[in-house]
Structures are given as C-alpha cells and as structure tokens.
Symmetry: C2
C-alpha cells in the first residue's frame, strides 16, 4: 500500500464528502481539531489513524506528517464571514504550518482547499447574473489574480501564494482547488450562482483522488462539476489532473430554467 | 492645504527617500515604531506630527488615521530573510490593520509598499541572467500571479490581495508598488539583477508623489527607474500614475557592461 494520505479538517463538510467517496481507496491519517466519531471514519480507519490537533500546533502537525505521502489540507475556519483574526490564525498561519511540515517530512504533494471566495469579487454588479447563465462565455481559469469578496477569501488566496512559494523553493508539488458550492444530492435551489459553481459529492471525491494520484508542479484549478451553466473553467483540472466529472447542475433544472422550489 | 498624508515606516530607507525628495510638497503625519530624530524629519514637521506606534496596534493606527487624506504604507519587517512569524504579524496583520483603519476613517487612497520579492521566483535558473540584460524582452507587468522567493515576498503578495479586497468591497483606491532595488547615488555595483530593478531616490520620491496625487482604482505597478536593462514594465505606472522617471542604471555603466568595482 502507498504511504498514507494526511487529510486535515477530516470531520468537515468537504472532508466527509471525500471520505465517503474514496475512503476505501487510500490509507488515511485523519486530522481534525475535534474528535471524530466512528460514523465519520471510513471502514478500516481506527483510532490510531486519527489525530486531534489544531493546524497551528507546529509540533502536532510535524508528528502527523511522519511517513505521509500526500496531504489534502482542508482545515481552517470555513466561514465566508469569518473575522480577520480567525482567518489570519487558522487559515493563513495554519496553512503555512502544514506546508512547512510537509516539506520537512519529505511529502511529495499537497492539495490545498482554496475557495471560490478567493475570486468572488469578479462577480460585479454589471457582470451578474448573466455570467451564471449557459449562454455567457465569461470564464475564470486560474491564471487571474485573486479578487476576494471577503477576508476568508483573502486567506485562501494567501494559502495559494504560500503553495507557490513552497513549490518554487522546496520543490513541493501543490495543487490549489478553488472549491465551488458543495452540496449533497442536488444543486442548491433558487440560487443561480450556486448552480453555476455546484460541486457534487462524487465529483468532489473524484477530484481530490486525482489530486493525490496525478503528477503536477504547481496548479490552481476550479473544483466544480461539469455544469452547463458555469463561469469557472475546468479545462485545466481535466488536462493536468485527469478530472472527469460526472454531474451537471443543469440535469436538475426544468426546461433550462434555474431550479425552483415547488 | 490638503489633508495630511500618513506615512508609516517613516524612519526606514524608503520613507526617508520619500521625505528627502517630497518632504516640502505635502502636509505629513509620520508613523514609526521607533522615535524619529530631528534629522529624519522634513522642515516644518514637528513632534505633534509624529506618532510612535506599531502597525499592529489597532487603536493607535485608528488615532493616527484621523483627518488623513492619503496613506503611504511602508511599515513592516523589511528583511527578505525575515521569519514567518514576523512577516505574519508585522506585514500581513499590520497591513490589514492599516487598510481597515483607512476605510474606517474615510481615507481616499492608500499606496502600499509591495516588493520585487513578491515575484522573485519568476527568476528561474533557465531565465537568468539573460532577463536582466537590455536585449532580453521578458517583462513582468503586474498582471501576473505572485511568485514569491521568500516568506517576506509571500507577505507582500498578501498585502496586495488585501488591497484588492478593500478596494472591491469598500471603494478604497489602492496602488501596490513592487519596489525594486532602492540605492542612493548610483545603482548597486557588480549586481546585474539590482541594476535591472534599480530605483533611484529621486524616482522613488516622485513615484510616491504620483501615488498620492493620481486618480486610480486598484493597481499593481513596478517601482523602478527608467533602466535600459529591465524585466519589469513601467508602462502601467506611466499611464495610470503619470510616473516620469529621470534615472537609468545604464548611465552608470561603462560601454554597456554591468557596473564593476574598480
């Protein structure tokens, strides 16, 4: 079996989507700052594979990195409205701790959970809501400069830049995934923006599986399903990672209209 | 007279170059974490115009912002080799404190001292030293993603993104100046890279004068003189700010060769 994959923030929404989808496909080490109950763990993952620690705890993170082959780093304050002090500590400082520990431990690659909020201020009043619609060809592709719509998004952009630095200076392979709107079962209703950036649970798990297995240097990709309505390009994720999403929020719409509640 | 300009890091190298060049042109409020001696002050600036405070001190920065029209924010740990904890606190957290206080006080524009180190990892082994030479047409122009060569550069890139956020959400005018190699009298000797990114003292003062006076939304510009050998474009600074540099490191070379010590 390959070296274990360290998954930080394993108990969170994205972490649980990944574990439910590809829990059997890898040997895991799970990290969360809260204890994980047994229904949060894939089959075969026992207490010895779970680390309860904060990502800003350098010693604990260094210990958790021992023998690890790849890292999926999700831990942080996930609230778009999180205050500056929290994202500074949990998201910016915590992410630097994880990258540095990965380098020190000789880890080969890190997938970093960035966010659509790193670029949400591209959605200006003059551009929306047309950009959410299928006939609009506006696309962000990951080469654009960050334009965060909140301080959480600023912290995610900083995590991307930290990844660039650790790639360029330490040869760490880093992929930053700007995750869209992850919901289970169906796309968000009455929310065109969320439909345009929908990421289904199975596509999420598959995408991070590709982040573990693929060869890359430094990448910024968008993490959304193969939605008919979109303003994020998934070409780069397909090309570099072999991402092959199965879902499309349009399949849940009626006659091409946005999904409405009954 | 216009509202005073708040200059943070007034006692540092860049701050002193600015004050020596345009000390008479504005009404100043000077901030530094160390007391400033009288030879650091322009004529007409007295003790009442000097604030001794750390940029991470929210209350002190809020007080210093009172009645200010524009800010030149230079304060921070200036060492390219500065450790993470110092740049996290002084450069990232400190810069957020300054932007937020500027917004709260109704300041119109902030010029942020970014750095060539925010993009120094574009200088790869295969690209250098040719990119430092006059016949090479490789140019960075401020639209490229950050590629810091050190954690100090990461912190400067984060300051740029914070500026983008405060512009997009609070309508603050922000210009980020990626300052090159500022030396007094002549360009650095025996250092092609430094010659290609040389910023003379008078061009530095003039550039920040333009940052105070010009109208702009959000900009990233390069702060170098009009050097014959360069890999940073100054087109955007000329166009948006009206930057009109007077110096060129090539004027100090012999027969087009890099400057050598005797």
């Amino acid at each position: 079996m390959d070296d274990p994959v360290l998954l930080t923030g394993a108990g969170g929404r994205v972490g649980q989507a990944i574990l439910r989808g590809i829990g059997d496909a890898h040997d895991w080490r799970l990290l969360d700052r809260e204890p994980l109950s047994s229904d949060h763990l894939p089959t075969g993952v026992g207490e010895d594979d779970v680390v309860v620690a904060d990502v800003t705890d350098e010693d604990a993170i260094a210990d958790a990195m021992d023998g690890v082959g790849a890292v999926i780093h999700l831990a942080g304050d996930p609230r778009p409205e999180a205050p500056w002090n929290s994202v500074l500590e949990n998201n910016i400082d915590g992410t630097q701790t994880v990258y540095q520990a990965a380098v020190d431990a000789g880890v080969e690659n890190v997938a970093f959970a960035s966010s659509n909020h790193a670029v949400s201020a591209y959605e200006t009043d003059t551009r929306t809501p047309e950009m959410y619609r299928p006939d609009d060809d506006y696309r962000l592709d990951g080469t654009e400069l960050p334009r965060p719509g909140n301080l959480y998004g600023v912290s995610k952009a900083a995590g991307e830049t930290l990844g660039r630095y650790y790639h360029d200076t330490e040869d760490l392979s880093v992929v930053c995934v700007r995750i869209g709107n992850l919901t289970e079962g169906h796309p968000p209703r009455n929310y065109e923006r969320g439909q345009a950036m929908w990421l289904s649970h199975r596509d999420c798990a598959h995408l991070f599986d590709r982040c573990i297995r693929a060869d890359y240097e430094y990448e910024i990709v968008y993490g959304i399903s193969d939605n008919e309505r979109k303003y994020y390009s998934i070409d780069r994720a397909r090309e570099v990672l072999g991402y092959d999403p199965q879902d499309d929020s349009a399949e849940y719409t009626l006659a091409g209209d946005p999904i409405d509640d009954e």
